[in-house]
Amino acid sequence: MSGAEERGESRYDVPLTVPRPDGEPARRNGHRRSTTAATDPASLDEPDTSADEPAAAGPGEGAGAVARPGPAVADRPGDHWDRKVAKGLAFLRRRLSGDYEVDEFGFDPHLTDAVFHPLLRVLYRDWFRTEVSGVEHVPDAGAGLVVGNHSGTVALDALVLSAALHDRHPAHRYLRLLGADLVFRMPVVSEIARKTGGTVACNPDAERLLGNGELVGVFPEGFKGVGKLYADRYKLQRFGRGGFVSAALRTGTPIVPVAIVGGEEIYPMLADIKPLARLLKLPYFPVTPTFPWLGPLGMLPLPSKWLIEFCPPIPTAHLRESADDPLVVFNLADQVRETIQQTLHKLLERRPDPFGP
């Protein structure tokens, strides 16, 4: 309860902190899209088109040839759709002939760029009005371990984080998420998780990804974080054994803590029906204001306002030898946890209304 009071108290501080430059992006990326949105989506869609352009021009000469006559009558608005259709068909043909690459973890960048990221873009940009800050703390190249807080009954925060990071980061890096084995036990979900770059949260996989110089995303709270009640919102749960720290230490990878505000309100979990969860072999069975009362409509996430802040990286290269030292590992895990918790409080002050613009 003390946490809630703390937040309530801090609400009154808002006018003191907001007038600083922090307040500015709140309006820039928010609902008022008329001024900046015209340029924004173009820059955001850029990775998308650049990734797909070779698809139309490369193996499919047919598609390229069809798309080219466009410029002759470029002033007609319909040509834009012509090109979209041609691009979509070329994409479909490439998928159906198996003409794409999959890495050893099952990551399919072709599908991720063309299908999953555009969908998530609608979700995080238009539905959640997400503001991202501190992307400069995420390395442009080489390995990095992004550690975040988990929330929201359904782990949308991980997907939003990966899509937002890919779009906003200058190097358009993919975040390789580590997921619980429950994710990989479920059909369809496991397939999607692997295709979007995820893998099972275990040390061999984490170290292999980091060793390959990938950006890895991990949520050490796991189900304790996702499945906590609304009353416990933004209270970081236990961080487990700190396996993520030892993975980072063993590979000398910097740890980038990230605080995500907004995830807690999308499916506010009022109660957890434990017997039903046990029956369905799930970690929890949520009751939200809309679920299960409204049926499938209850699956719609509430449009909360999201803020994501990446914190300065914590270097670990000098601690390589201490990967098995529990004291070092726990201390570092605590440091990461504290950083995220502090940043969460700071972000919450900036966002007095969870469903604000």
Partner: protein, 356 residues
């Protein structure tokens, strides 16, 4: 050192399982190697199919349990054990005979090897099935990865048993160089396995909601690795697979086949029914592979052998070229369909434009 052996190459080599494709080709390759004096092929049932191939190989019709005397009498330096059944054959005793051959056969062979005083090299064919299949498995298996669960499939269990016996043999005969090769499924223009027959069908069943990552090794690369294992010194366990990965649906699409997703319990049941009716040899080994997929790390092989097998995609391409007969959807057809749709859209639009 034996008189015939120079720089690690053994004088006399025994190859088991020469009645099968892999054994016959390995024996033929070894016989063609001038560094190796004698190649003796052992199989209980000679297969006339490979008679031409095995010209330079002394063939002995023998069960593995009577191998002991042979190894001692012939002063054998190396044994290559390839006589493994990967799937039960309903015509030849089904699963019971398969286990007899795999597990009991290997036990008898290793017992004979243990008593052979001059033996100094043992090469055993294993499989990446040794890693089992579990949802908590890491994405990529290295040779050190322990299986988390005992596999459900018969072949996987046999492989675990076989590797266990080889470990025991290593303890008892530390002077023998024991090489265990964990092969990914074989593929290529000439390979004929459960998996190649699966991909050769026009309509291919898959598990709903799963797109497993697969790896193959080209049969010619497998022969090369086996050859080097005999001719050179490579003690230890090695993953042998083509680098890179194909997802199952991707492989099916590249082969121009049509995937039909089946619910997993249904597939297990269908496989059981098909087996009991005598056609189709899919077992739980295949179902598990199609749920979990299997990818291994081949860096140890590349480092120690100085040899990189052709990639999984390249090996699969070779298979596609040889099996283009059953193609349902070709790339040209897809491109033509795309062209057709675009053309019709253009025509409709120009018609609308003219009218307005």
């Amino acid at each position: 050192m034996t008189p015939g052996g120079t720089s690690g190459a053994p004088g006399a080599v025994v190859v088991t399982g020469v009645g099968r494709y892999l054994g016959a080709h390995v024996a033929a390759r070894l016989a063609a190697d001038p560094r190796i004096d004698r190649v003796i092929g052992v199989d209980p049932t000679p297969n006339p199919e490979f008679a031409d191939l095995l010209d330079g190989v002394e063939r002995i019709r023998l069960d593995l349990d009577s191998l002991g005397g042979l190894l001692a009498d012939l002063d054998v330096d190396a044994v290559v054990h390839l006589a493994l059944a990967t799937a039960p054959d309903p015509q030849h005793g089904g699963r019971a005979a398969m286990k007899e051959q795999n597990v009991i056969g290997t036990m008898q062979l290793l017992a004979a090897c243990q008593r052979a005083p001059r033996l100094r090299k043992l090469v055993v064919r294993s499989s990446t099935a040794a890693y089992g299949a579990s949802f908590r498995d890491p994405a990529v298996f290295t040779e050190e990865t322990e299986p988390r669960e005992v596999p459900r499939g018969g072949f996987g269990r046999d492989i675990l048993d076989i590797e266990g016996y080889v470990r025991g043999f290593r303890r008892r005969r530390p002077d023998v160089t024991a090489t265990v090769l964990r092969f990914a499924p074989f593929i290529g223009s000439t390979a004929d396995t459960t998996l190649t027959r699966y991909f050769a069908q026009p309509v291919v069943p898959t598990v709903f909601g799963r797109d497993p990552r697969l790896q193959f090794v080209h049969i010619d690369d497998a022969l090369e690795v086996l050859h080097r294992s005999v001719a050179e010194e490579h003690p230890g366990t090695y993953n042998v697979a083509g680098p890179g990965v194909l997802s199952l649906t991707q492989a099916i699409r590249r082969a121009g086949r049509v995937a039909v997703p089946v619910l997993e319990p249904g597939l297990s049941g269908a496989a059981a029914i098909a087996r009991s009716l005598g056609f189709g040899r899919y077992g739980l080994d295949q179902v598990d592979l199609f749920v979990h997929g299997r990818v291994v790390d081949t860096s140890r092989l590349e480092r120690e052998y100085g040899f990189t097998p052709r990639s999984t995609a390249a090996a699969f391409d070779d298979f596609i070229r040889a099996h283009h007969g059953g193609v349902v959807v070709t790339r040209a057809q897809l491109a033509a369909a795309e062209e057709l749709v675009l053309e019709s859209i253009r025509q409709v639009r120009s018609a609308v434009r003219e009218r307005s």
